[in-house]
């Protein structure tokens, strides 16, 4: 007898595996493409964002010099004098100076007023790039006379033209050009504080620089020869730091701009990644059904001697191939889409964005697509190893046991690890990526549990008393090969994303609207000199407006905390005080009682100081945390040159959300009354008309007083939020499209499952209408329940975000959510019915033959 004739260690023929994978995929390719189309949009989103990110990085590197406009820029909030002035004047080969501050501008032609950012400039700044104006020469010409360059939004708002005049303080300037873009400034920032450039030689004449005015002093330098900036900045840094000034070089601006944009692109990558994950759920479900259909073929192959690992590899090759095609398609689409992104981001990026094909982004996208499609396909794919050749003999379907395969835990772990690692790369924070992964997981789980519950409940509920159509329609939700889980997850997640975005936007907008509604203050007048205090209040009352609050403000710095100074902090890293605490200029007030928005959390409130003793002050809790302050701690304040010893008598919690003057430090009465100070007045204007008239009166009589119109801030904020949410919506559209693709794919797959049954029903005499009704019922129920679950998760999620992240009260309008609910439910039914029409429009025999 022969016993040794079997070669158990037959080598796997890789070429044959590829050959078999190709042969086996015949007749299924269109379906495989349908599965994989689910990942196309996720990859497209990521490739678009990545390409855009790389292009921006290139642009930042190329345009960094024009962003800062000089080789070195130094800025601070105090005038420079003494040795510092000597240093400031000794730097660079060419020098420019700028003073910027907020002030009211008045347009005599339209009688319009608005708070603007005045930039008074002397010198040839910018040395790189230009102040972009229309006409072009205005950017330099305005420095030659009493001329101004005015931001384009401002020009539009007040219908002003070149040649008109603008009044800044006491001085009228001729508008010589429209400012399109100031160096390094993005459109969104310009919307909040529109810039007006004036020559510095006329600044004094405006009379705007008074005590308490918050002025920023900037100095720009150009070096004609190459200078070691690192060495230079290392030398000047300690001196500038001591004076509370900071510097920027081209390199540091490059880093900070790159970092700022990096954060945005990382966030958007996550939104794209969610679309990809959603697509992967579709892939996993589709591959699951694909493998089930292939059991007979696998069993035959096993019968003929194919090893379990070979059978697994044949299908893995198919998945990799299809994943690669899907990823390449996605990458091509993404590269095309990136052309739209500069339009989308133009308001957020302070330079011209170029569009180039990024092979790096394409490579990353393709790699990511292949990895993730393999990972998600692996779950159903590992069961291929367990298909018994006995299936060739047994006609009865033998369930392939995935649930018992211990390898599935490894696949789950790999998927989890991959998501965490990918999000970590985007967020740079393990905690953040863990929360993100957990959030996604919880949403998945909730939807999966609801789907599971639904099938259970349906099984229990359906009974003979129901009409046949209802029974059949609902039974489709739990019968074998049902699509309940995949549809619930894909529709539910898409709905959740759209809804959360909408809710968050409405919470933010709602909060601002709420703050300015009713009789709450919606206009703030500041920089009122002590001598103008009563006159401004009386003018306000004369206009029929209430003086809701009038508070004195004193600017000061912290000199010492528990005997430690800023210099000590630099020497001793064990001191737990944040560096900025000493550098910051505080605006404080004094009063004898707490305001409505304040609550003492520790210590005792002291409303009146006793002369000759240390001053008891109340510190806001966040400042207390930053400065590591406790009740009783000694602080020495520097009130414009005068040292003032004090101690922390209480710590307060402040509701910053309320529109009123709030302070980090509050002094008792009896100390600061004689210190140099200015006043802030809060009032409520009932309409835009009253607001305009009041502002005109104030600017005419008190040109140094600045006004913040919260109505205007609200509209600017609204516009900004709309722009941001538009960007987010654009990105989340990929999730929605993926959701629809997964929906179409799932419905099409279920069509293959249901086709025999529908044909059988039709053969038995069911009318077209009856089959239509059964299908419509099934999909309406699925669509509506998924959408409802998604909306409920969104309500929960946005509530958590509102409470813990934004710390805002939760108010959302449910009407748009209802519209979304109906839209998604109806869309699901329409897609379901469209996909079933093949069964309905042809004679049963024809379908049976084509699907045999």
């Amino acid at each position: 007898m022969e016993t040794d004739s079997v070669n158990y260690k037959r080598k796997t023929n890789i070429r044959w595996l590829f050959n078999m994978a190709w042969r086996d995929s015949r007749k299924n390719r269109s379906r495989l493409f349908l599965f994989i189309s689910a990942i196309v949009f996720g990859i497209a989103a990521l490739v678009a964002i990545y390409s855009f990110k790389y292009n921006v990085q290139n642009d930042v590197n190329g345009q960094a010099a024009t962003l800062i406009g000089a080789d070195l820029a130094i800025s601070g909030t105090k005038p420079v004098d003494g040795s510092l002035k000597h240093l400031i004047d000794s730097l660079g080969d060419e020098r420019s100076q700028e003073r910027s501050f907020a002030s009211m501008a008045y347009f005599p032609k339209s009688k319009g007023t608005r708070l603007v950012q005045i930039r008074a400039l002397r010198g040839n700044f910018p040395y790189y790039g230009s102040i972009e104006t229309t006409p072009v020469q205005a950017g330099t010409a305005f420095k030659k006379g009493k001329m101004a360059v005015v931001d384009k939004t401002l020009m539009l708002q007040f219908n002003a033209q070149v040649g008109d005049s603008i009044k800044v303080g006491n001085t009228l300037f001729l508008i010589t050009g429209i400012l399109n873009r100031a160096p390094g400034q993005s459109g969104a920032v310009a919307g909040i504080a529109p810039v007006v450039y004036i020559p510095m030689q006329y600044l004094a004449e405006t009379g705007l620089l008074k005590i308490g005015s918050r002025v920023s002093y900037s100095f720009y330098y150009k070096y004609n020869k190459s200078v070691n900036m690192d060495r230079l900045t290392k030398k000047i840094d300690p001196i500038l730091d001591k004076a509370g000034m900071r510097y920027e070089t081209i390199e540091s601006r490059k880093e900070s701009t790159g970092r700022n944009f990096g954060d945005l692109s990382k966030f958007l990558s996550l939104v794209g990644f969610v679309a990809l994950l959603l697509g992967c759920v579709g892939v996993a479900s589709a591959v699951h059904i694909y493998v089930r259909e292939k059991i007979a073929s696998i069993a035959i192959m096993r019968c003929l001697g194919v090893k379990a690992s070979e059978a697994f590899l044949i299908y893995l090759i198919q998945i990799v191939g299809i994943g690669l095609i899907g990823s390449v398609t996605g990458a091509v689409l993404g590269t095309a889409i990136q052309h739209l992104l500069p339009l989308l981001f133009k308001d957020f990026i302070p330079f011209t964005i170029s569009v180039q094909i990024s092979w790096m982004a394409i490579g990353q996208g393709i790699l990511l697509g292949v990895i993730i499609s393999i990972l998600f396909a692996l779950l159903p794919l590992i069961s291929v190893r367990n298909v018994s050749p006995l299936n060739t003999l047994r006609l009865s379907f033998e369930e392939v046991g995935l649930s018992r395969d211990p390898l599935r835990w490894l696949v789950y772990a790999l998927i989890g690890l991959f998501i965490i690692c990918f999000t970590f790369l985007q967020l740079n924070s393990w905690l953040g990526s863990l929360f993100f992964t957990l959030g996604i997981l919880i949403a998945f789980l909730i939807l999966a549990v609801v789907a599971w519950l639904l099938t259970r409940i349906m099984k229990l509920l359906i009974n003979g008393s129901w009409s046949y159509l209802w029974r059949q329609g609902f039974a489709n939700l739990y019968r074998p090969n049902n699509q309940t889980l995949i549809l619930m997850v894909s529709i539910g997640l898409s709905t959740m994303f759209i809804c959360i975005l909408f809710f968050i936007q409405s919470i933010l907008i709602g909060q601002v609207s709420l703050s300015t509604s009713g009789n709450q203050s919606n206009m703030i007048l500041f920089d009122i000199q002590n001598s103008q205090k009563d006159a401004v209040a009386s003018l306000t009352r004369k206009q029929g407006l209430p003086v809701l609050q009038q508070v004195p403000i004193v600017t000061l710095r912290i000199e010492q905390i528990r005997g430690k100074t800023a210099a000590d902090l630099q020497k001793d890293s064990t001191i737990k005080i944040q560096h900025g605490v000493f550098a910051y200029e505080y605006r404080v007030t004094f009063r004898d009682s707490l305001s409505e928005s304040e609550k003492i959390t520790d210590g005792t409130w002291v409303g009146k100081a006793e002369s000759g003793k240390d001053v008891p002050v109340s510190v806001e809790e966040n400042l207390a945390k930053r400065a590591n302050l406790k009740v009783g701690d000694k602080i020495v304040f520097n009130v414009q040159g005068v040292q003032m010893p004090a101690y922390v008598s209480s710590i307060r919690k402040v509701n910053w959300g309320k529109v009123q003057t709030n302070f980090q430090v509050v002094f008792p009465t009896g100390v600061l009354e004689d210190a140099p100070q200015f006043q802030v007045l809060l009032t409520h204007v009932p309409s835009n008309k009253v607001s305009a008239a009041f502002q005109q009166a104030i600017v005419r009589n008190f040109p140094n007083v600045s006004i913040i119109d919260l109505g205007l801030v609200l509209s600017v904020l609204n516009e900004l939020l709309s722009k941001i949410s538009y960007v987010i919506r654009f990105m989340s559209a990929f999730s929605i499209i993926t959701g629809i693709v997964v929906l179409v794919a799932s419905v099409r797959i279920s069509k293959y499952q249901r086709i025999q049954e529908s044909v059988l029903l039709r053969t038995l005499g069911a009318s077209r209408k009856q089959i239509l009704a059964i299908t419509a019922l099934e999909y309406f129920f699925l669509g509506s329940l998924s959408a409802l679950t998604g909306i409920l998760i969104a309500i929960g999620g946005s509530w958590l975000l509102a409470k813990y992240s934004f710390e805002l009260p939760y108010t959302v309008s449910l009407l748009p959510a209802m519209v979304l609910f109906l839209t998604i439910s109806i869309l699901t039914v329409i897609i379901g019915l469209l996909n079933s029409r093949g069964v309905l429009n042809k004679p049963p025999l024809e379908i049976l033959r084509t699907n045999a």
């Binding site: 016993t3 079997v6 037959r10 015949r26 001697g305 379990a308 050749p389 006995l390 060739t392 006609l395």
Partner: protein, 229 residues
């Protein structure tokens, strides 16, 4: 005479609805090389289970199956797959052709797995033997039942098996086609000197073999030679 298949104390039990179900109980028989054998019995008697165990498609609960001197019980599923690829041929009631492969490719698969040479021409020869030389590029769905079973026969003989297992090979065919297929099975079998194990409930077909093993209720109730034996 050499024994190619030796079945000793073979039993198979399944767990069904919480209780043990004995499908085969203590089966013993041996098959000599080159012989033709039929396993017959009514539906549910366990004959297909017996075939599956003999061919190494499943594991027994107790007892042993020795195929060509190899105890299948000691092998892993992948090792049994190699035994099947190198020693065993199969014919199924429902043909079991790979639907996405052409007739020719279906015949080529066992040869490809063995990394053999001249695969294509050998597969074409086999198709020629079953009278389907001109249908090699057709997919199973484009062939009639009889044609599919003939492709299946060509595939079964492609690896020159020592033993051929046929599970109701005419079960899905009409009388006329059945006759042709049966003739082909026996002719090819004789030509290749292969041992044949045929599972059927068709006594007329069984009578064409040299030996009939009767199974009922999972037990071997008779083992007799036919007039051909």
């Amino acid at each position: 005479m050499e024994t190619i298949l030796n079945i000793s104390d073979l039993s198979k039990t399944y767990q069904s609805a919480g209780r043990m179900l004995t499908v085969l109980n203590n089966i013993n028989f041996a098959v000599t090389t080159g012989s033709t054998n039929a396993i017959v019995g009514p539906s549910g008697s366990g004959k297909t289970t017996l075939l599956g165990l003999c061919a190494g498609l499943d594991r027994s609960s107790s007892g042993s199956v020795e195929l060509n001197g190899i105890n299948l019980g000691n092998l892993t599923e992948d090792q049994r797959a190699q035994v099947r690829n190198q020693h065993v041929g199969f014919i199924f009631q429902n043909f079991q052709l790979l639907p996405t492969l052409t007739a020719l490719e279906n015949v080529m698969v066992p040869l490809e797995l063995r990394n053999e040479k001249n695969i294509r021409s050998r597969a074409l020869d086999l198709l020629d033997k079953v009278g389907l030389a001109d249908r090699g590029h057709h997919y199973p769905s484009q062939l009639s039942g009889g044609e599919q079973q003939r492709v299946s026969l060509a595939r079964a003989f492609s690896n020159a098996p020592k033993i051929l297992f046929a599970d109701e090979p005419t079960g899905n065919l009409d009388a006329e086609t059945s006759e042709k297929v049966v003739k082909l099975i026996f002719d090819l079998n004789k030509e290749a000197g292969t041992t044949l194990i045929l599972v059927t409930h068709d006594l007329e077909l069984a009578a064409k073999t040299q030996r009939i093993i009767r199974i009922k209720g999972g037990q071997l109730i008779a083992d007799e030679k036919t007039i051909n034996g």
